[in-house]
Symmetry: D2
């Protein structure tokens, strides 16, 4: 359960309030507004606010006075055109804000996307909760032999058991020391009058990278898609990909035409190099092209054949 | 009249539409949503959309689950604290989108604020209207003798008359040539079958810098205040300051607590140098400080005395 | 001649000075340092400074202590890998600074690339020279019938003659009025004691968009390539493409391995949509695919056939 | 010793190489180029590369052809003017690149400065060394009673001893588990053939936030000063302030005129609110102003009196 009962009550209270607005609204996204979507064992993603919709992309592209949309089919065509030709500025005219709870090592990957606004929970100011990420056994895998940045096969059960015990015991112990050093309970009361409480900004350094933090994260539609292109991808680490997958759903609800164009021209598309294009042309001309006569390295050849759905 | 009758009708139609939303709304800003505020002789600023309010700043600073606001007085105190200590990220959590019509030479100053999203009307793609800025006589001034970037006294009536004639005649003539080169009327029909129409992306180069362009401009609350701090300031050129002044009103409607803190800690505040502080301390101690014994140049001394409301 | 004799003398003086440095240096780029490369009729691009080289990209990717390069072949391989997989941050570790003289309408396109540092010559502060862009007749073309943002066939000689006369006369006249309003000659002396000189920040609005301005423009290697990908491209307007072409040469001198990877994976590459990939697979399987049974619009089909070098 | 003998040898080798360049060079900065400045117990900062100098700031402000500097006194005056009036773009024309080794919890603060380029050592790809930060006893302090984000008095010796033991034992143990899960020694060899080695991207989550990471960090002179203004400040956490202090020295070597202006107009300066200015005016007029009749809260009053060097 990623949120407490009190937190869920606050969320419900906010969901219950409605107001009238002249702004564009998106009913499909309003349906899930504020509601946390669980991710990993204690994390979540929830949409806090949004600005604009598919029509706002069209409106900005046309710099129009009115709503900028006559027919959905025209909007879809223009959005596809903008996406195909990498016209990014109209997509920057929509904005979305998330509240995310995530392990610190995931936060450290995420923050590298700089074109976003972030407010993180401060462990200088407040005490972090005792919540840490433990992978489920099916996500514990060996180091990949092919890809130095990836995972290989799943650990055998007893190996997984051993790893999970280490992770759990170390996190438990480190949190215990954290509390001991702080000499405060969760309500901020002194535990032991004989001991001095270490400053929070120092004590936090004893926590492990799998402890959860949380932040508000706001970005525009263009940069959201940049994030999703890299993170909702098979090469992304599983622990960040599950967040991106949850956000793909919010993208689909929010801007369905943009979502469709994103799938067609980004997620399902491929970038083919100059040499790759020349190879495809030769193949279409009936040439028998092999890795050896292709001009590509083995790795690039395998990547190209993968894109073309052919066995290397 | 900065918009045509058709444009005003489109605006009215959009203002008439309302929807129910779970998002935070700001009634004072909804009141003027979409409505153009006239600026200069043919320009305007209008708010197209917004995200967040004062409470959203507080909510982000606290990374809270609920609305993040118990009492207005607490919110005001926290917002003042954030502004005073230059904590900018919570203010980045609110976003606003404007539609602006403005002379090209103003647009060229404005665009230097890079942390914003922009979609400008394309003169490669479309034909610009015949609308150019002519200052009113009371804004025609001589080059300042003191400040190489500023204006001095107002032109005498016959001089102003001469200048306005030059500006008007040159703009009229250049627009005439623009149409002649395009060989198109406003509806895109060929005017003279004997002539070839020059590409729009070329013909536009004949227009003067006082012709109007327009754009959608979106930024966050923090960067909006950066813009206003520089442009709603006595040192800014009059022709951009009037836009900033109109936007100050939307800031006040949108986030009144932030607006008050902005006036207190930015617009009405002063940055005093190390030497300036030492001088103030000496003055408070009863020393007689003069420019000569101050360690400041004449210019800096005059600036400091200006800040302290004393005659230099 | 894009620079005056005095300016060329200043440039020569700076080129004549050398110093010893421990920093990485690139002899090929030093050869042209400070030297203006003429562009259009009065413009230029010149490299003013640079930081890093191909090895610095590798060094950053490896976060290494030493120079980070053992063999050129390894560096080339890593740079190709980074480019192929869109790992942009190592390329951000190199920086280049240009001085550019360019028509204002080109500057207005260029400035839309926001991830760069810019200092532009101020016409609020100084008087602009009488230099404006006149296209050569072979670059005067009609509006394209196919592409609303492009050019079609070249104007006939007498039509070109007519257009050039309009451009020249209007620019001459507007500059004359500019001087008249300023009431200053080029040295800043008052021309006519009977007249008041209009403030520079106002007078400049009478200039046409083909007048030349200049700026210092600094960016990192990654963002330089983003600029070149869009502007050294057949779809870019000719008047900005010639600047990008000149900068391609500096890229080649500065970071030859990165340049080669850029040509292979960006300039000469193609982005193929999900549907496009499915079509290529069908074609490779021997299916007869036509636009009608492809699932693509006529326009997209033509684009895909263009990429594959097949007649649509 | 923050670097190994091999690393120091690589550094020495690079320092020994010199080349001739036409670029501006700064001898004072060249003196320390590549040389690590030790920070905390295992960290360092070292300058890897730089572009520009004080004269380059002036040159950009003037958009000049030559070196842009006639007399040092004029340059100093212009730089002071630019700093005083918040003209930031000329300072953006200089660039500096650092290699930094720092604890992860410090890196997490640092990365919030988004206008910079970063390449961090990847613990997905490589194994982190066994190096973690242990504060020296004089930097172990209790939570501040006044400031929820700060430290109070120093811990008593036996309390400091207790805290250091907890930090050391937990870090030792967590690193041991990390190695155990990886089943690799430092050279990447398998330790125990019976065990499966967990993927690096997973094992890293067991490390504590006081383990060291390292990165290349590049920024421009303007944004470097933004960083230093916040981090070389008494309110910054000690563990990041020591890095900023070391970087202040490189700023002084690199651009001494800018450094002096930074100290005068940023570090030693104060921002006084509208109400604060009114109070100073009253005090200068001889009024007896107290917190009660000042219109300021107790906290703000104390801040203002601190700035004015008066006891509240």
């Amino acid at each position: 359960m990623p949120v407490t009962r009190e937190q869920q009550a606050e969320i419900e209270a906010q969901r219950a309030q409605t107001a009238s607005t002249r702004r564009v609204t998106v009913a499909e996204l309003e349906d899930i507004l504020y509601q946390p979507v669980p991710v990993l064992d204690h994390g979540f993603v929830r949409v806090i606010d949004y600005m604009g919709d598919d029509a706002a992309v069209v409106q900005a592209a046309r710099v129009s006075y009115g709503k900028g949309t006559k027919k959905v089919s025209e909007d879809a065509g223009l959005i596809k055109y903008l996406m195909r030709h990498w016209h990014s500025t109209p997509f920057e005219m929509c904005e979305i804000k998330y509240h995310v709870k995530l392990p610190i090592f995931v936060a450290r990957q995420w923050i590298r996307h700089r074109t976003a606004n972030v407010n993180e929970y401060s462990a200088r100011y407040s005490i972090l909760d005792k919540e840490f990420y433990l992978p489920s056994p099916e996500h514990l895998a060996v180091q990949s032999a092919q890809n130095r940045q990836g995972r290989g096969e799943i650990l055998k059960p007893e190996q997984a058991h051993r790893v999970l015990n280490l992770l759990r015991e170390d996190a438990e112990r480190c949190y215990g020391s954290y509390q001991d050093m702080l000499n405060e309970d969760e309500k901020g009361n002194v535990v032991d009058d004989e001991k001095q409480g270490l400053a929070r900004e120092l004590a936090r350094m004893n926590l492990n990278l799998n402890f959860y933090t949380q932040w508000y994260w706001k970005t525009d539609l263009h940069n959201l898609m940049n994030f999703l292109r890299l993170r909702a991808d098979a090469h992304a680490q599983y622990e960040i990909r599950v967040y991106a997958d949850a956000m793909m759903d919010s993208l689909k609800r929010w801007t369905p035409l943009t979502y469709a164009a994103f799938v067609e021209y980004r997620q399902g598309a491929a970038h083919v190099s100059a040499t790759g294009l020349a190879i495809i042309k030769r193949m279409l001309d009936g040439d028998k092209v092999t890795q050896e006569n292709s001009g590509l390295s083995k790795r690039e050849w395998a990547e190209l054949m993968g894109v073309l759905g052919r066995t290397a």
